[in-house]
């Protein structure tokens, strides 16, 4: 019954790494077809404007230009940008090409030409007459009476406010000895996946569209293209080979995917479209800037008695995931730390003429946990408790409610806090900010998080897998789950190999072609290992049973007495025959086709983490340097520890960026991004990164998941932000309730505090 694992639990190089290190891996923009044209989108320079007319005559006259599309040449089907079938919160508010631009960069026309350079030149020749409309960029402006209505909704609200309540908040506050209310703000980071959005489309003679795309959700791309283009599902084929990152933004469709297909249809030729980096910054997605007004009551003994919050997200020109992240961000404030189950939380999402905000690693909870965990530090100080002890006293654990409605199964958050505290020698090294002096000051801070593996119950999670046995004992694993760079396919192959009792090398993953693989909803919400992995495990278990039954027949014994290990059929440890011998054809007859299929409808599991960040703050320059991060993650079971570490290290890198430097800044007059390029946007580079010590805990394996594994992709970006902000406070006594913490802001605050020479 209990036996050692053969394939999981040890670090495996990714099964696709060989293609990546040799340059053979092909991403969407690497595909070409004979006779291919290049498409480009004409984008509005105005944040809010009505398109009165478009004159394409000069563009069409340019040699090499094959087609121009305007809003009046394309299907006028309002569709959602965010394809996941969420409960009731989707808004169909986007058009393929719009006649009302709602942010700087909204696409109003498109062109196809024989070269990319000609297509670019043609854009300048397309003449667009606009009626400029008043524009708003902040939630405050958008909510003001008389503000322009961006989609005609009352008060520019994307959807009715989300209200989450339990217990009696007023009674809770009355019971408290101290009450703190403060507002927390987060910035507008960009995903900055390295592979710009790209696609290649062509229609074959049967009228079937094939699109090579870079998407986390191939089946959703198929569904929405089918809906908007009026094609049945069997005539849309989405192919995704390698992906150069997505981090949530590639859960949405963009204008190029529709336009490219329409240009291919119009010209009868294949068309490729690749976004420039500037387009990626201005016209794909950002994280939602959110303001959270958070009020909590606390007793002198450190018990939190009630929590009230208003979560307001700026979703920009279109809803995209605004409803989803707002729902998650609001309900997640019920979690992480107990508050006697007294809460009243409200979430609003607001349209503005800012760039569209969408799904981004951490999905709404990054902002909530920033507010919550910074306020935990503030409350600890108010009641005179050490920040670590105050967290341990209130950390959610076994039996506490979770956002999904399920009760938690373990005290995993406290375990993360304890392990991290031990690693950084918290009680020895942590000292209050009052004792810190000198120009460069050292600080230590904590941030925590928890995340469900999958989006249940907001999404009815489901994945499928098909395993096909080959006649030489090797296996094809067909999955619809995307691997956007996470190593998901390696994990799925490991799960199949472990469950089947086969060597990993005998499994080949087939994915990324909607014509071949079974439906999968997409790669997001740390769901792939848990949900898609469960489907794979079940299909593998089914195939194993069938192999054993066949072996029992052949050997004339009970199948239940047999097992498969290392690709061999064994009884009580004795090798009887190999799987290859079992499944090969005999007597000139082909082998019996052995296949297994499984569907898994997931519930929910939670992963937890505590991050301990060490910083050095230069009080003369305002620079914050993160010098070390200890990241403790409880994830049930690490199927591939090498991949888990990679996820955590990368998430911390993004989180350091979001906390200290990254923010897409808009011109307050025009709404145009001012730093839509890597140099001005400034992500952490190799010399900027601290030592990261990753500690993986497997304290609370999930009973319903493959070998107990839970998700990890979203988690690492959520705890690092508050850890850094709390460390900056610990170093300087300056409390930041906003991100990013840039040198100009920090210097100004130090001056206010009388902390610098120039004060």
């Amino acid at each position: 019954m209990s036996r050692g694992f053969s394939t999981i639990g040890v670090g495996h190089p990714r099964i696709d790494a060989i293609e990546k290190v040799t340059g053979k891996a092909r991403y969407a923009a690497d595909f070409s077809l004979p006779g291919m044209l290049y498409g480009k989108i004409k984008r509005s320079p105005h944040a809010h404007a009505r398109v009165l007319s478009i004159d394409a005559e000069k563009a069409l006259a340019l040699e090499g230009v094959k087609a121009v599309l305007t809003p009046w040449d394309v299907p006028r089907v309002l569709h959602t940008g965010a394809p996941a079938p969420r409960l009731g919160s989707l808004r169909a508010d986007q058009l393929v090409l719009t006649d009302v631009a709602r942010f700087v960069g909204d696409g109003v026309a498109a062109v196809a030409a024989t070269t990319e350079e000609i297509a670019e030149a043609a854009l300048d020749l397309i003449e667009v007459q606009y009626e400029i409309l008043p524009a708003v960029f902040t939630v405050e402006e958008a909510r003001r009476p008389g503000a322009p209505l961006i989609h005609g909704t009352e008060g520019n609200l994307v959807m009715p406010p989300i209200i989450v309540q339990a217990g009696d908040v007023e009674a809770g506050f009355a019971e408290a000895d101290l009450v703190l209310e403060a507002t927390y703000h987060t910035g507008r980071p960009s995903h900055c996946y390295m592979e710009p959005n790209a696609c290649l489309c062509y229609f074959d003679e049967s009228g079937t569209l094939t699109i090579w795309a870079s998407t986390q959700c191939a089946f959703m791309v198929r569904g929405i293209l089918s809906e908007v283009l009026g094609l049945p599902l069997h005539k849309v084929r989405v192919v995704v080979k390698h992906m150069g990152g997505g981090f949530g933004a590639k859960q949405d469709l963009y204008q190029h995917e529709f336009v490219c297909a329409l240009l291919a249809r119009r010209t009868g030729r294949p068309v490729k479209m690749v976004y420039s980096r500037k387009e990626v910054f201005m016209a794909t997605k950002t994280r939602h800037p959110v303001s959270i007004t958070l009020k909590q009551g606390v007793k002198r003994d450190g018990t939190i008695t009630a929590r009230q919050a208003l979560y307001v997200s700026n979703t920009g020109g279109y809803a995209s995931h605004g409803p989803g992240i707002t729902a998650v961000g609001t309900i997640d404030m019920t979690s992480l730390y107990r508050c006697n189950e007294n809460w009243r939380l409200e979430g609003r999402s607001v349209y503005t003429n800012a760039p569209i905000a969408g799904a981004f690693r951490g999905y709404g909870a990054v902002q909530s946990f920033f507010a919550l965990d910074v306020q935990m530090d503030e409350l600890a100080e108010m009641v005179g408790m050490n920040p670590l002890d105050f967290r341990l006293k209130n950390a959610v654990g076994e039996g506490d409610p979770s956002p999904s409605g399920h009760r938690l199964r373990a005290d995993a958050l406290a375990a993360c806090l304890r392990r991290g505290a031990e690693e950084v020698r918290w009680h020895e090294r942590w000292q209050p900010p009052e004792v810190k002096t000198g120009r460069v000051r050292w600080g230590l801070g904590i941030g925590t998080e928890m995340h469900s593996s999958g989006a249940y119950p907001d999404i009815k999670e489901q994945s499928n897998a098909i395993l096909k046995m080959n006649e030489d004992g090797t296996v094809q694993l067909l999955t619809g789950a995307a691997d956007l760079g996470t190593g998901a396919h390696t994990v799925l192959a490991q799960i199949a190999a472990e469950e089947l009792g086969m060597p990993l090398a005998n499994i080949r993953v087939v994915s990324g072609d909607t014509d071949m693989v079974p439906f999968d909803i997409g790669a997001y919400a740390s769901r792939t290992t848990y949900v898609a992995g469960s489907a794979v495990q079940r299909a593998a278990a089914e195939l194993r049973q069938r192999l054993l039954a066949l072996a029992g027949e052949k050997l004339g014994c009970e199948a239940t007495t047999l097992e498969i290990r290392d690709g061999e059929i064994r009884r009580q440890g004795q090798v009887l025959l190999s799987v290859a011998e079992l499944v090969r054809g005999e007597g000139g007859r082909p082998a019996v086709a052995l296949m297994a299929q499984a569907t898994y409808e997931a519930k929910v599991a939670y992963s937890f983490a505590a991050h301990f960040a060490e910083v050095e703050v230069d009080t003369e320059t305002g620079m914050v340097r993160v010098t070390k991060v200890v990241a403790v993650h409880e994830i049930g079971k690490a199927i591939n520890p090498l991949g888990v570490e990679g996820q955590i290290e990368g998430g911390i890198q993004q989180g350091i960026g979001h906390s200290l430097t990254e923010d897409l800044v808009l011109d307050p007059e025009t709404g145009a991004p001012l730093n839509a390029g890597f140099v001005d946007y400034k992500m952490p580079l190799a010399p900027d990164m601290p030592e990261i010590r990753v500690i993986i805990l497997e304290e609370a394996p999930d009973p319903d998941s493959p070998f107990g594994a839970k998700g990890v992709g979203e988690d690492p970006i959520m705890a690092i932000g508050p850890a850094i902000a709390n460390a900056v406070y610990n170093a300087t006594g300056v409390r930041f309730r906003e991100l990013p913490i840039t040198p100009d802001k920090l210097l100004a605050r130090l001056r206010e505090q009388g902390e610098t020479d120039t004060a």
Binding site: R14, T22, G23, E195, G485, G646, E649, G650, Q653, L685
Partner: protein
């Protein structure tokens, strides 16, 4: 206007008729089909298109193809040795693969080429020197931890 240029790419001569405004990156990708070199920004900020031009690391998006006329160009495709016994990976490719330094893999070709230029000049770099050498190559997946480890490993240094 087009010009005929001669490039020695991974040791092979190529004659290509190119528009004068076309970058070396576009010529490699579009005309020669060498799509291993990636376009991450096209303005010299991200390093995904790092190649070696006469042995020096450059962003191929910042070089016009006509400027490269007559040069030796090394790309990721030329790094592994293909012989009778199959593909033999370069030590950097081997270490990137084994140590998990390639996640999405989009920055990987440029990163490996930048590292190759470093090791050619400094076969035994410090960790700091490695981090400096790849400061022009952006990765958004790894936090650079495993990339730095892989380069140090390939340089036969003890891993941190």
């Amino acid at each position: 206007m087009k010009r005929l240029i001669r490039l020695y790419v991974n040791g092979e001569p190529h004659e290509v008729l190119v528009p004068v405004y076309r970058t070396l990156l576009d010529v490699l990708r579009e005309e020669l089909g060498l799509t291993g070199t990636k376009k991450g920004c096209d303005v010299g900020d991200c390093g995904a298109c790092t190649i070696l031009l006469n042995g020096e690391p450059v962003n191929a998006c910042l070089v016009l193809a006509v400027e490269a006329d007559g040069t030796q160009v090394d790309t990721i495709e030329g790094l592994a040795q293909v012989g009778e016994e199959g593909v033999r990976l370069h030590p950097l490719q081997e270490s990137f693969l084994r140590l998990g330094a390639a996640q999405c893999g989009f920055c990987t070709p440029g990163m490996i080429m930048a590292a190759r230029a470093l090791l050619a000049e400094n076969p035994s770099p410090s960790e700091e020197a490695v981090r400096f050498a790849i400061a022009g190559n952006i990765c958004r997946c790894t936090g650079y931890t495993k990339i730095v480890q892989a380069i140090l490993y390939a340089a036969n240094r003890e891993v941190m």
